[in-house]
Symmetry: C2
Subunit: 255 residues, 2 copies
DNA sequence: CGAATGCTTGACTGCGGTCAAACGATGTGG
DNA sequence: CCACATCGTTTGACCGCAGTCAAGCATTCG
């Protein structure tokens, strides 16, 4: 394991790259070369205002990028305007990276908050070429692919078989787990930069009902929200309610 | 393209293997070696009665197998008995094949009808080893992985943002497309071996509501059902209703 | 300060769930 | 061959979760 430090404020390159490295190194031990490659991505940053469409549904896949700061979403919009969010993309998540040889993107991708990304072409190429020096990263991304699929399956269960209350509880735990991995959770509290409308579009609910569900959860003393921060007051209860199962390894692998 | 014939009745090895070959060859041109490998899977068949659990949710991934005849499903069951079907597995679909290095299965897999499978370890190994002689198959399975993800995303949209009527219409078109690829659709008609309860568990509905939705669709003269066969009377109307987009290439690739 | 955006609330509606019973097909054993 | 059990489908009555509509607040931001 490589030791890294986390002293800086958010939006600082060092911290970001360290978060990412920590995330991947948690999955697979990475070589110096691989860490160097990740670290090298820090240059060539790009800013996208909230609402920017980074990838067109059915269009060609996006240029490989990795999120540094902010949230994005994979989205589909129906002809009549109904909208479904497939997944939230968080700092450290990639898009257009190491995908199958898809001629076309399976969903649109949109910046949900002001977004900062880095060019990940170098990473993408190394993975595509299956560069043996990047064996660890290759495995890490394979694992991430599995986690993504697991997330999607959980999403299906939420939408197909859970009540609004259960869905919300599950999503909150989901986000906590993912944000915790990149060091964005402290004291069971994290910044939730989503409007209730975005939550609704993820959970297959109406805005009004999302609002009422959140209120009920507050009344039940399961969560607390103030100024964009969400605090889980009783994660265990939330987990029971929503049948949540942890996916991420909580400790780095020994291999 | 390899020419194959389809004269035999179902459940015959030749026909099955030819169907599968046709399916994969439709995605990528296959070498004689690859076709030989597929053809070789025909031995070592296994029968599973309906209801057999082929793979345990969260357990270790299933032994590589390919479905010859019958339908299976990827399923999750909640502690209180609610059930969600992620996808239906049809003849020619594999399980435990060419997956990422997952320590555990992401869902249970269950035979929904009496099922016949063949051992696909040889195929699985060749893909895992990235045997260069199987480059075409490797690509074909990568494409199939993409199609599977696309299906899953569509499923999310159905469950999250579509009405019962729309969901049903979409699923019917979905199944028609997949069954057509393996030659099981004739005159917009195919055998649908699912109970309304299984449809309900896939579509996130109750049995009763599935029943009423189907009846409405019959009254609207969009479909017709008799003795386990489903006929699409107006596929275009169904597509408009459900915003269905074709995923499978309708013609083999030129490459 | 006003405009825009997002949150909250209330009243009402309706899609789809639940419960219960009847009906039909299939299959099995006496 | 029939009696009976089982499984799946159908129907009706009723309910409730979540959607819709509409208005009023609260923040944030130019």
């Amino acid at each position: 394991m490589t030791t890294v430090s986390f002293q800086r404020t958010p939006r600082e390159p060092f911290v970001f790259i360290d978060r990412v490295i920590r995330r991947y190194a948690r999955l697979k031990t990475l070589s110096e070369y691989e860490i160097g490659l990740l670290r090298g991505l820090g240059s060539r940053r790009e800013n996208h205002p909230a609402g920017t469409e980074l990838c067109n549904d059915g269009g060609k896949p996006p240029h490989p990028r990795m999120i540094v700061d902010g949230w994005a979403g994979r989205i589909r919009i129906l002809p009549d305007g109904r909208r479904q969010i497939f997944t939230f993309l968080l700092p450290g998540d990639g898009m257009g990276i190491c995908t199958r040889p898809n001629p076309r993107a399976l969903s649109a991708t949109m910046a949900l908050t002001p977004l900062q990304t880095v060019d990940a072409a170098a990473l993408h190429d190394a993975l595509l070429r299956r560069d043996p020096r990047c064996a660890g990263l290759l495995e890490a991304f394979a694992v991430i692919g599995g986690l993504d699929e697991a997330m999607l399956l959980d999403h299906v269960v939420r939408l197909g078989r859970q009540t609004a209350y259960e869905r919300m509880a599950h999503l909150i735990l989901d986000l906590r787990e993912r944000l915790a991995v990149i060091g964005l959770v402290e004291d069971d509290t994290f910044i939730l930069p989503l409007t209730q409308e975005l939550l609704a579009d993820a959970l297959g609910l109406s805005v009004v009902h999302v609002n009422r569900t959140l209120q009920q959860m507050r009344r039940d003393e399961l969560i607390e929200t103030k100024q964009g921060r969400l605090k889980l007051l009783d994660p265990d209860a939330l987990a029971v309610i929503s049948d949540f199962r942890h996916r991420q390894p909580t400790a780095p692998p020994r291999a």
